[in-house]
């Protein structure tokens, strides 16, 4: 039980700081054959930010790749006649994307300020981005909704399935089944404690993300809570369903871990962007409940979308929840055959 309450804390800290510390204090190499005031200004602005440190100036453009590979440099800035090229290491796409988007923002600001104070005939600078090995973009505030999804899945689905499977092992389930109690009563009473537990975890993760990671909740908190309730309900139904199919605790655990947790971690878009996956895997991702939850939670938390913006997700999640619940209640009755 204590582990269950500490786990969300651990996860949010690992995932949250794991991503954010990498981006701070990134070494930047600059290739600047022009050395004019505009380029100086840009380099200056970059070094002022907390994200970048100007590490070195390159004398030859050919060195760009080698410093990326071995030089401990995260970003190479190449000034051309009227353009800036950003070169990053796409083998770590998350970091690379974040770096380029940060740098782009800073350069844009720098250029704009420059244009205001200088004469109109100063050469315009167009920013041209180049992300080696991974051309897609991906947002940064992915972590908190993702961790929420995973933690809730873990507590609700896994723990529920294990707890019901345990009753099968000890034989107390048989006693419940010969009693006049209705299956729905058994299911509800087995899931209620985990429902409460997941609400506690949900609150923990939210508090941590707001006060420790400084990820804001832009949208309505009530909407986020409502959305989460539906998702918790869905996870619980899924847990019950797994436990009905699983004859023992160990099987229940393996099924939840392999069938649910792995795809959740890998395919939900938490670690890798869904758009980059092969079509078959993208299709698999569509049927993962957690994918819809993460998307909706992200919209509400980060973009501040109202209920109209996540209607589709809400409908899909509710439909899945009702489906799993219906199947569980139906299957539950005839279990000992």
């Amino acid at each position: 039980m204590i582990i269950l309450l500490l786990l969300p804390v651990l996860m949010i800290i690992l995932f949250g700081f794991g991503i954010s510390t990498e981006i701070k204090n990134t070494n930047v190499a600059v290739f600047d054959p022009l050395r004019n005031t505009t380029t100086q200004q840009i380099v200056n602005d970059l070094s002022m930010s907390e994200y970048f440190i100007i590490d070195r100036y390159l004398s030859r453009i050919e060195d760009a790749e080698s410093v990326l590979k071995t030089g401990g440099v995260g970003l190479v800035l190449v000034f051309g006649d009227a353009s800036v090229q950003l070169i990053t290491d796409g083998s770590d796409p998350n970091t690379a994307t974040t770096l380029t988007s940060y740098a782009t923002a800073i350069i844009n600001m720098s250029v704009m300020r420059n244009q205001q104070i200088t004469t109109p005939d100063t050469p315009q600078i167009n920013i041209e981005m180049k992300l080696l090995y991974n051309p897609t973009m991906k947002g940064a505030y992915n972590t908190v909704p993702g961790v929420l999804g995973m933690v809730l899945m873990l507590i609700c689905t896994m723990m529920t399935s294990i707890s019901i499977a345990r009753e099968k092992e000890t034989g107390s389930m048989e006693l419940l089944l010969v009693s006049p109690v209705k299956p729905i009563t058994i299911i509800l009473s087995k899931t209620a404690p985990y429902f409460a537990l997941s609400l506690v975890s949900f609150a923990t993760v939210l508090l941590l993300s707001v006060f420790v990671l400084h990820v804001p909740i832009v949208g309505s908190l009530a909407l986020l809570i409502g959305l989460t309730m539906i998702f918790i309900f869905l996870c619980l139904s899924l847990g019950v369903l797994i436990s009905i199919a699983a004859p023992s605790q160990i099987v229940a655990m393996l099924v939840s871990a392999v069938v649910m947790m792995m795809p959740t971690m890998l395919l939900s878009g938490l670690m890798f962007p869904i758009e980059n996956m092969p079509l078959a895997l993208q299709a698999v991702a569509q049927i993962l409940p957690v994918k819809w939850y993460i998307e909706a939670a992200r919209s509400v938390m980060i973009k501040g979308v109202g209920i109209a913006g996540i209607v589709r997700e809400l409908i899909i999640l509710s439909a899945m929840a009702l489906f799993f619940l219906a199947v569980s209640v139906k299957k539950f009755n005839k279990r000992i055959e």
Binding site: T170, G171, S172, S179, P180
Partner: protein, 247 residues
């Protein structure tokens, strides 16, 4: 006057091509202690599960406490108690907590629960152990507790699936005293066992071999019929013909 509380007619259960219970028929009267004997794998538990409404019969019919076991199995559940082979009370709960939980589950009225618990603790002589965790009780005590809990709602029939597995003879004797008491109170006791000394305690016994009932009668009738000095001999004679291996 004898009232029939269990009536089974050609009850059969097959799993794929395996016939676990093969056309069994018998009747049990109210207040009777009915021993349901058989080697492991003979089909005792399967038959019992059908009677309790846990498993649907493949063919044949049966009524328990006046309710049809195929059509109204939920109705059957209101009139029976059940004690499974495995010890199935919650080990992390105290003695009285288990009683309260099952009293609630089996629909004892909320107002009556405290009295029911007190009576039961007194009958068992467990009053001092009211707050003991069930896992700290010796096995024999646990089984007595499990039996009492299974009749907490005064069912008309209680099904006991090998209730005395693994306990010493003294504890078994005490357990049977509880069974006699329940029977004297008008509860019909349907008990499976493979201890043949226990078979002697039953009013009537049936012996299952390979899914069929091969013998049925009072222990003394059966001993006479098979010219045996004990139920153990009767059983050995019948069990020898079994084709199914012990599992």
């Amino acid at each position: 006057m004898k009232t029939t509380v269990i009536k089974v007619d050609n009850l059969t259960k097959t799993f794929g091509r395996f016939t676990a219970v093969d056309h069994i028929s018998f009747e049990v009267s109210r207040g009777e202690i009915f021993g349901f004997l058989g080697a492991n794998g003979a089909g005792k538990t399967t038959a019992m599960r059908m009677l309790c409404g846990l498993s649907r019969p493949t063919s044949g019919s049966g009524t328990v406490a006046g309710c049809d076991i195929s059509r109204s199995s939920e109705e059957v559940k209101k009139h029976i108690g059940y004690m499974s082979q495995k010890f199935a009370l919650y080990e992390d709960l105290k003695v009285w907590e288990n009683m309260r939980l099952y009293a609630g589950i089996y629909g004892v009225k909320r107002r009556e629960i405290p009295k029911v618990i007190d009576d039961m603790l007194a009958t068992l002589g467990f009053t001092a152990e009211k707050n003991t965790l069930v896992k700290e009780l010796p096995l024999g005590w646990k089984q007595k507790l499990a039996f009492s809990v299974s009749i907490i709602h005064r069912p008309s029939i209680v099904f006991l699936d090998e209730p005395t597995g693994g306990v010493d003879p003294a504890a078994r004797r005490q357990f049977w005293e509880l069974i006699y008491k329940a029977a004297a109170d008008g509860i019909t006791v349907f008990v499976t066992t493979h201890y043949m000394d226990e078979a002697e305690y039953c009013n009537r016994v049936s012996i299952m071999v390979d899914g069929r009932i091969e013998a049925l009668g009072t222990p003394s009738d059966l001993k006479q019929k098979f010219a045996a000095s004990s139920m153990d001999e009767v059983f050995t004679m019948l069990a020898r013909s079994a084709k199914r291996a012990d599992n």
